[in-house]
Amino acid sequence: MITANNIFKSFSGKTVLEDVSVHFEPGKTNLIIGASGSGKTVLLKTLVGLHEADSGEIWYNDVLFSQLLFKEKKAMRQNIGMLFQGAALFDFATVEENVMFPLTMFTTKSYEEKRERVNFCLKRVNIIGAEKRYPGELSGGMQKRVGIARAIALNPSYLFCDEPNSGLDPNTSILIDNLIREITQEYNITTIVNTHDMNSVMEIGDKVIYIHEGKKWWEGSSADILDADNPELNNFVFASNMTKMLKKLSAK
């Protein structure tokens, strides 16, 4: 469970997040949606502590994360997995070494045990036979999946995904969305996903938070989103002509 209260964040005078309060339950895929530049990535990075909030509180269960000392945060982070917008795989390391990295740094497992865990995670995300390849040799979708494998290597209780399916074709997107949802339910993870893909919202969104210009504009379930009467949200949701047409059809 993650709760954030009244988060403010600005960069050299420019306010990016304004009074954002959110609450995320375990075993649920929570989505943060919003236009490009609305502050989704900044919100995610603030929640995990890569950016420090100007004010506000961030709770992980009953731990006040935002007040922890550097060392305590460091220990906490081993319980948090994150998939970055560009996958952020280490390009000095092979696929296998990437997934093994957190295991090497934070466990005392033997090489055999680590390999076993790596193979398990890679199989879980459907990457087979690419262990010895370097990130530069993988397609975007494969990189994202390896990124997920690395994020879940230490069995985290919290999983953050920044646009897991941006730049992917619709089929691969759905594959990755489903993967995230399955993992979330299987291990009862508190998962938070940034996206601007309406398809993901309808497919996997247990809870949806809409960010508009750095403020929380709307929250609810994916079932409610189509009927919400919030002009900015509607504008976002029904951005394309096709969805507008669908809305007209369903209204009839």
């Binding site: 995990v48 945060k73 460091k74 740094m105 934070f106």
Partner: protein
């Protein structure tokens, strides 16, 4: 001026993050070997080639410049030795290495920064500055003084080769010159300089890479800036160390 001090402050803050105990000692040793190979061993060829040519040229030029019959010809060997050990093998080689390994470090770390690989490391709870930068600094600072020795020896060989090929003086005159009034401390002095310069090259270029932002254009720009700053710092420290040590 304010931004200069700000930069300086950030450099020291980064160094404080770099000089901490590695999360995993075994990983650190592995990285250290890897970086020694990448930053040190791989420079052997270029250092040797440059040094042999420069040693030869110094021998030639000093022999052209000794026109007075009062100065013995063996001074050719003496001058080759002194020039190599005092300046060329440390300062000049360091400036060349600043270009070679400085740009390599700045662009490598810079591109890791902009592709969020450094964030990913921090996110896992790894001290990225320590993990990425410490092995580079230690590898170069410990290994590069050996490159200075190599450059010195190869430079003298370059002079000897020229002497043997052109016959400007006899080989025994050259070797007499090499052994003339040799101050052993010059080698220590030069190795100390090289160690300091290597520390500057690796830490400064890592600093510029670590705080890169934006796109690949910025990474290129910060690696250029890194080299310029390294060179200026090397020249300044050359004066300071010479004043202090000699």
């Amino acid at each position: 001026m304010r931004s200069f001090f700000e930069l300086f402050g950030r450099y020291f803050l980064l160094m404080r993050k770099v000089f901490t105990r590695p999360d995993r000692m075994s990983v650190f040793w592995r990285q250290l070997i890897f970086e020694t190979e990448k930053l040190g061993l791989s420079s052997i060829a270029i250092v040797a080639i440059i040094s042999i040519f420069i040693g030869g040229v110094i021998a030639l030029q000093s022999s052209f410049n000794i026109v007075s019959p009062l100065i013995p010809k063996m001074y050719v060997g003496f001058m080759t030795r002194e020039t190599m050990v005092l300046e060329f093998s440390s300062t000049m080689i360091a400036l060349i290495l600043a270009g070679k390994i400085g740009s390599n470090i700045a662009s490598e770390i810079g591109s890791m920064r902009i592709t969020e690989q450094i964030d990913a490391m921090e996110m896992m709870g790894v001290n990225s500055a320590n993990y990425l930068i410490l092995p580079k600094i230690i590898a170069a600072t410990v290994f590069n003084p050996l490159l200075m020795l190599l450059s010195f020896v190869v430079g003298l060989m370059g002079g000897w080769l020229i002497v043997a090929l052109t016959g400007i003086i006899t080989i025994s005159q050259y070797f007499d010159g090499l052994q003339m009034e040799f101050n052993n401390f010059y080698i220590t002095y030069s190795m100390i300089k090289m160690a300091v310069f290597s520390f500057i090259i690796t830490s400064v270029s890592a600093f510029f890479g670590y705080y890169a932002f934006g796109g690949s254009l910025h990474v290129g720009r910060s690696s250029t800036r890194a080299i310029v700053v390294c060179c200026v710092a090397i020249l300044i420290f050359n004066l300071v160390l010479t004043q202090l040590l000699l």
